[in-house]
């Protein structure tokens, strides 16, 4: 099939753009660590291991080319976080951007939260397209005039100038996390947000940086008894009192902040019972949830574990309503995947705008889409080979055994260094951003 798409039409995905260097020698700093569209889809932000943020803006559709949606071009780039060393704890703090989350737009400026392992920052991105000219006490080049030489007064006026996009840090939320921050999530109230590390979740007010409330604490009194950690957390899209957090044991807890100040007692616990006869050394590791995302509707949530994507109905805790296998053929490779640490890779997942299709990444620069309504799935590849403008992506297939058909790729030939961990879907349109190790691919549906 050509593709999986919302509405059941055979969506054909086409290459649109690719960002980043072509050379194979990838510097650590260039490894992309997060990708996120803003609420309108006009802006697309990426964060990397070097602590830098690059924001792309979609060009307005041109009337001359109605069959093309606007391209994404660089809008702003800045150094969000720098490497630090905590001398007290002898701890290196990476500058890698773990997550970026946009705030809904309130005025002309755009705001986003970016976080590394320890510190969250609120950045303001604003445009400047005019500047005041005609000062009385300053020359045009900025030098101060001798006041005694001023004989007349004039009113400075704003004159147009070339567009300048400025990014400035407005808030720095520091020193609230002992462990490594894995998630941030802005509340639907647009006043607060949560940050989650391995053992704790804190609630912040966007205006206040010197104080945060601890709302979840799963640290055991005796660390020897530690059995699970928090892997991801997210606020409900429209219920400002509700959030969920996932664990390394494959459970998701839904908490209601109205119930108590400290939400250690969950309101709901989502867990799929495991058949004890299936239990193995790998069971817990592959059940660890690497990402949790609410649907736009707020009725469902999606979790990603090592081999599958699961859709949960918030009204049913006993088991997911849908399970999609991402790359089940890896079951026969778990031993080597454990040895090369790939079994610990944290894949993310995302919903399309109307919650009908979900997407997640895999290895060999493959990514997968699952159409929930039409029960179709497709595997596509982000590669330079299929990067001709508007060329339709060909579905890929992994051969699991026996005779390998032409165009199929065998499990043993998969490149496990080419992982797609981060993907994002435009909030309304069929435009997706897929990050390979150091390149950002943008695909669109064929109009």
């Amino acid at each position: 099939m050509a593709g999986a798409g919302g509405g059941g039409n055979d969506v054909q995905w086409c290459f649109s753009q690719v960002k980043g260097a072509i050379d194979d020698d990838v510097a650590e700093a260039d490894i992309i660590s997060t990708v996120e569209f803003n609420h309108s889809g006009e802006l697309l932000a990426t964060g990397d291991k070097g602590g830098r943020v690059v924001i792309f803006q979609q060009e307005l559709e041109s009337k001359n080319q109605p069959q093309c949606r606007g391209e994404y071009n660089v809008y702003s780039t800045f150094q969000s976080h720098e490497p630090e060393f905590d001398y007290l704890k002898s701890l290196e703090i990476e500058e890698k951007i773990n997550k970026i989350r946009w705030l809904p737009q309130k005025n002309a400026a755009q705001f986003l939260l970016s976080t590394n392992d320890k510190t969250i920052k609120l950045w303001k991105i604003s445009e400047r397209d005019k500047r005041p000219e005609g000062y009385n006490l300053k020359e045009e080049d900025g030098r101060y005039r001798d006041p005694t030489t001023v004989t007349t007064l004039r009113v400075p006026v704003f004159q147009p100038m070339d567009l300048m996009v400025e990014a400035s840090p407005r808030r720095v939320f520091a020193n609230a996390h002992t462990y490594h921050i894995n998630s941030i999530s802005v509340n639907s109230d647009c006043e607060t947000y949560l940050s989650a590390d391995d053992l704790r979740i804190n609630l912040w007010n966007l205006e206040i940086t010197d104080r945060s409330f601890n709302i979840v604490d799963i640290k055991p009194v005796n660390m020897e008894e530690l059995t699970e950690v928090i892997t991801a957390a997210e606020f409900h899209p429209n219920q400002c009192n509700t959030f969920v957090y996932s664990s390394s044991k494959g459970t998701i807890r839904l908490c209601d902040m109205r119930a108590s100040a400290l939400c250690d007692q969950h309101s709901k616990l989502f867990e799929e019972p495991e058949d004890p006869s299936n239990r193995s050394f790998f069971s817990e590791i592959i059940s660890s949830i690497s990402d949790v995302k609410f649907s736009h509707s707020g009725r469902y949530m999606m979790t990603r574990d090592y081999l599958s994507v699961k859709i949960w109905d918030l009204n049913m805790e006993s088991r997911p309503v849908e399970t999609y296998q991402v790359h089940e053929y890896l079951r026969s490779k778990l031993c080597s995947l454990y040895e090369n640490d790939c079994i610990f890779d944290k894949f993310e997942c995302c919903w399309n705008g109307n919650d009908s299709v979900v997407m997640t990444g895999s290895y060999n620069n493959f990514f997968r889409m699952f159409d929930r309504g039409y029960r179709q799935d497709v595997t596509l590849e982000a590669s330079r080979e299929s990067s001709k403008p508007r060329s339709v992506l060909k579905p890929r297939k992994v051969c699991t055994g026996g005779k390998r058909k032409k165009d199929e790729i065998s499990v043993d030939s998969l490149d496990f260094n080419k992982k797609i961990l981060h993907t994002a879907w435009h909030p309304q349109d069929n435009i997706i951003a897929v990050a390979t190790t150091n390149n950002l691919y943008i695909f669109q549906d064929k109009l």
């Binding site: 992309i32 990397d48 780039t77 817990e284």
Partner: protein, 115 residues
């Protein structure tokens, strides 16, 4: 691998499903056997505290001033040993020097995505 009984023909679908689940289990158990053969001492607590603790301690570097001074005193008459290629080793006799510490420089170069 498939050792299920075929006498229950009405539940063919269930059998098939169980088939593939059994196959999966066998695949995974096979992988587990392989792993335990390679690393006999591996985890009494599978996926438990050991690897969780490692995850919590990511980024931690150790320096013990007592070790450092003892090693320096011991080495008074000999050449000071330089830290080995693995700079993350817990210090014992290794004496870290400023040259050995990893450079903590921020990226001054613009991201290639913006190029």
């Amino acid at each position: 691998m498939s050792s299920e009984n075929l006498s229950d023909t009405q539940m063919e679908y269930e059998d098939e499903k169980q088939d593939s689940q059994e196959k999966n289990t066998n695949l995974v158990k096979g992988e587990e056997v392989k792993l335990k053969a390679k690393y006999p001492g591996l985890g009494q607590k599978p996926g438990g505290s050991d690897f969780l603790m490692k995850r919590l301690q990511k980024g931690q570097k150790y320096f013990d001033s007592g070790d450092y001074n003892m090693a320096k005193a011991k080495m008074k008459n000999k050449q000071l040993p330089v830290a080995g290629p693995d700079k993350n080793l817990v210090t014992g006799d290794h004496i870290p020097t400023p040259q050995d510490l990893p450079q903590r420089r921020s990226s001054l170069v613009t991201s290639k995505l913006a190029g």
